[in-house]
Amino acid sequence: MTSIAQTVHPETVARTAAISMACSIGQPGVLKLLSSMYLCKPSRETIAGWMSLLSDDGMGLDELRDALNAIDTASDRILEDLLWDYTRLFIGPYKLPCPPWESVYRSQAKLMMQDAADEVRRIYAAFGLSVEETGVMPDHIGIELNFLALLYERAADENGRQSDCMRIDQMFLNDHLTKWVPQFTVDMEMAADTQLYKTLARTTRNALDLPRA
């Protein structure tokens, strides 16, 4: 852990603090919401769940809330279009326009399960965690966002070890999410047919305070 901490970038500290302030449901909550939106298929139930979290004002997620509010969940056709958009973007069966794995963005050969997957897995292990869900690769956008949320939670939860956690989250942002999410979200925004997924791409970038690639 000590060696990881050496890679901390001072800018990140200021940035993460700013995001926490902006979101009344809390930074971990925002990240978990986004994580869920990448990992879960859109359906009446999931959309209702996401909306219930966004019902309060002033969370800095207005655009995402508007996009969710605009969905006519009574319409089967609209739900089917949403599901197809999600499927096409993240599952297949065709060439994925925005493969949701860090390895694909960061490896020269553009493959899954390359060095980045190994690196994040080691970071999770260093934090005592392992990905439970065997159907999801460790460098999936949803897993990385969720891990970051856990880091923030622990930082708040365990006062004694706060400094360690903070170091890991800064390192994790710098060395991983920052390295690929800007391009990923641009690709996703371009490829998405529906407002919801275009907005999710922008919101993800904004929530991490990342520039547009």
Binding site: C40, E45, G92, M112, D118, R121, L129, S130
Partner: protein, 776 residues
């Protein structure tokens, strides 16, 4: 979520179920994945499981532990041995497995001497991990939404896919009979178990790969000398006459370049016959450019010269062959001058080669798919195979050698023969066809409904649309089926037409037994070196689960086992090898070697023909109304005044069939598929290198890029097989092609072909059509 939010009972129980921990508020917040609020309660990963993180085990905390695992490659059907470096469950390197002879040598003594020097793998084998980790792999079963070819899919669970296929196939059998199902598969891919599935289901229409590959060669050698796949001993020969087999540039068994180098180092000469100057031609002493489909005429003229000059091995002919006199009569007028007109090979060259071949021993004469993909292929192949017989060059060091193999013993079922005959005329219309079936006939039966209507198709790792000649007809035929299931690692042109697409496994994720193609008994194990990258079922697991769900049993209630390792363990244990799977894996390199290469086995056993002798004259062909002698017949689809050029296809070792074309490592070597045109022809037609051109046959018209070259017969143009994808990944569709904007995926060869099969063997005719070139 914030710490004071209400945690529902459902979340509590989900948490306990997933983590195996007793629920406490603290542990929930600390450890659970805590997906956003209601999403936890309802919602839904791809397979409806929850819980993102758990506590890492001690082992997981120890990173960087690697191990090497022996298995076999399946980038093609060659079954070369590989040794895979796996670090933390991830494949990081693939090296050859020197314990597996397929990468070393095909003669036991050569293998023993050479294995310490290491094995070999080809460009495809080296790119195996690219296919394993390709982000475009299919990841979950997908069900089509809307009409066929709508392009829209819905991800469904493995269980739902199993239920659907089981229900559809049971319904099909009930309403239309089991024969309404057509099931086909790629080779070296658990064909045993798929065959059993079809037996138990009751459909006779199970097809494999070889019909699209080398069954004319198989029929030729089998009819002549009783072995459908004798193997070359290049390493110990003095003279090799090779017809249309680019074994150095389109290498299947990676031992081939090595054994040719060994032979050459010991003074062997090679004469290579092919309309295309391939890598093998480049390493031969002499390249003989020949008109496509006329190899048989060349072989008969060589036979003419040998017999006329009395160079044949009279003793061998007397003891081990039948029908020589009739053959001698046949070749009496097959003079080199006669053959020159047909083949374009100068008569003086034919004379010289006949003399060299007859004077040099040991000598071998072999052929593969060059002569084998024509309408006269079986007879042409027989004329070639008979040259070795004339000179007594069989089953001796340095000649063509019959292989001895030790495999497993298949599970026996007590079943009645299927009530219906096969739709494809295997054994009837095509009397010497291979068990792999006749694809063009299946396709035509789908279109015509004769002899009966096929209604459902299962396509296992087999891109029917691109692989069977005449692409347009293939697409029309598949559209006639009511229900199509495709199991493959990637989308394909065939999968686009499917109702249900099921992700296939990669060979590094599954089990198999490989009986290796060397002259001595060698059997190797393919084993999973990583768990499924897509967290899916293997095809084997899927089919076994399907059989179970459908309740498929024989008359004694016997069914398939629950797991594939169990299935192959039984085969190995009960077969001639007599070892369990674990015992096999404990052998060096996971390879069982069952003995040495043996020669002149015919002295004891005879040849495996009806007469037990080599047959220059085939009564079994005569009985089926075919010419008992290998007389030359012109190819049916040779060029005409309107379509004046021969179009042939060829293969290269960086690709297998049409299935490796989304592999970036392989495609970057040759992103385009230019049409090879002889420089003289190009100059005459005013065609420029690198430009676009229209290529047209009576069956199709497509654009191509031109490559002007000396490497091809002036009357022939050629395309590499496998290019031209429109329903495969982005790379296969041409994303690496920076030059050619008019057909970036490269031009496909199958669209130009008539789509017929050779009359004796049923071999799909891939290399016989006349085309014209039109300036674009």
């Amino acid at each position: 979520m914030s710490e004071d939010r209400i945690i529902s009972d459902e979340e509590e129980s989900l948490f306990e179920q997933v983590t195996g921990k007793q629920f406490t508020r603290r542990s929930f917040l600390k450890w659970s994945s805590v997906l956003a609020g209601a999403a936890v309660a309802s919602g839904l990963l791809w397979d409806d499981k929850l819980g993102l993180f758990r506590e890492a085990s001690a082992q997981e905390k120890m990173a960087g532990k690697g191990k090497w695992i022996y298995t076999t490659c399946q980038m093609c059907g060659g079954t070369c041995g590989i040794n895979v470096h796996v670090v933390d469950g991830r494949v990081v390197k693939i090296e050859p497995n020197e314990f597996n002879p397929v990468g070393v040598a095909n003669i036991s003594t050569d293998f023993a001497a050479k294995k310490a020097l290491g094995g070999r793998i080809c460009p495809k084998g080296n790119s195996g991990a690219v296919a394993l980790y390709d982000p475009d792999r299919l990841k979950t079963p997908m069900k089509r939404i809307g009409p066929r070819d709508s392009g829209r899919w819905k991800a469904i669970s493995w269980e739902a896919a199993l239920n659907e296929v089981a229900e559809k196939l049971l319904e099909l059998r009930q309403h239309h009979g089991p024969e309404a199902l057509f099931w086909c598969t790629e080779d070296s891919s658990f064909t045993d178990m798929q065959s059993d599935f079809n037996l138990l289901y009751g459909s006779p229409n199970f097809s494999m790969h070889s019909n699209l590959c080398d069954v004319a060669r198989k029929a030729s050698f089998k009819l002549v000398m009783g072995d459908d796949r004798p193997l070359v001993d290049f390493a110990n020969t003095k003279y090799a006459l090779v017809f249309g087999w680019n074994m150095l540039g389109a290498t299947k068994w990676s031992l081939l370049p090595g054994i040719w180098n060994d032979g050459r180092a010991r003074g062997a000469k090679m004469v290579y016959v092919d309309p295309i100057y391939s890598q093998t031609a480049a390493k031969a002493d002499e390249w003989i450019p020949i008109r496509p489909g006329t190899d048989g005429a060349f072989a008969l003229a060589l036979g003419h010269e040998i017999v006329k000059n009395g160079w044949q091995d009279q003793e061998f002919i007397k003891n081990y062959t039948v029908g020589f006199d009739k053959y001698a009569e046949l070749v009496k007028d097959k003079t080199p001058e006669w053959a020159e007109k047909i083949t374009s090979i100068p008569a003086t060259t034919i004379r010289r080669i006949a003399q060299e071949l007859a004077a040099t021993k040991p000598a071998l004469v072999d052929a593969w798919s060059g002569p084998g993909h024509h309408t006269n292929a079986t007879d042409g192949g027989r004329a070639i195979a008979m040259l070795g017989a004339l000179l007594g060059q069989y089953d001796k060091p340095g000649t063509m050698i019959s292989r001895q193999a030790m495999g497993g013993k298949r599970r026996a079922f007590n079943l009645d023969k299927p009530k219906a005959e096969r739709v494809d005329g295997l054994g009837t219309k095509y009397p010497f066809a291979h068990v792999s079936g006749i694809y063009t006939e299946v396709r035509d039966a789908m279109l015509s409904g004769q002899p009966y209507q096929l209604r459902a198709g299962v396509f296992m790792f087999q891109n029917f649309v691109m692989s069977v000649p005449n692409t347009r007809k293939n697409i029309e035929a598949l559209k006639k089926l009511d229900y199509i299931v495709v199991m493959d690692t990637m989308m394909s042109e065939t999968a686009r037409l499917a109702d249900l697409v099921i992700p296939g496994s990669h060979y590094l994720e599954r089990w198999e037994v490989n009986v290796n193609w060397v002259t001595f008994p060698a059997t190797s194990i393919r084993q999973p070196v990583v768990k499924s990258v897509i967290n899916g079922m293997t095809e084997q697991e899927f089919i076994l689960a399907l059989a179970k769900k459908m309740g498929l049993k024989d008359k004694d209630g016997k069914s398939l086992p629950d797991t594939y390792p169990e299935y192959i363990n039984d085969q190995l244990k009960n077969g001639p090898i007599g070892k369990t799977l674990d015992e096999m894996l404990a052998l060096p390199g996971g390879v069982f070697i069952g003995g040495a290469t043996q020669y002149e086995k015919y002295k004891k056993n005879g040849f495996a023909t009806p007469t037990k002798k080599i047959e220059f004259y085939s009564e079994q062909m005569e009985k089926k109304g075919l010419n008992p002698l290998p007389d030359f017949v012109e190819p049916i689809y040779k060029p005409t005044a309107e379509f004046p050029f021969y179009l042939v296809n060829f293969k290269q070792s960086e690709h297998t069939h049409s299935r490796t074309f989304n592999n970036e490592r392989l495609m970057e070597m040759k992103p385009d598929n230019p049409l090879l045109i002889n420089s003289e022809t190009a100059a005459r037609l005013g065609i420029k290198d690198g430009g676009a051109i229209w290529l047209e046959s009576p069956y199709g018209k497509e654009k191509a890029t031109v490559q002007v070259t000396e490497r091809i017969h002036p009357e022939v143009v050629a395309l590499q097989h496998g290019y031209g994808h429109w329903g495969f990944g982005k790379i296969a569709r041409g994303s690496l092609n920076k030059v050619n904007t008019w057909c970036p995926a490269g031009t496909a060869d199958g669209v130009f072909l008539a789509g017929v099969s050779e009359k004796a063997s049923g071999m799909a005719v891939h290399k016989e059509i006349g085309v014209r070139l039109i300036k674009a």
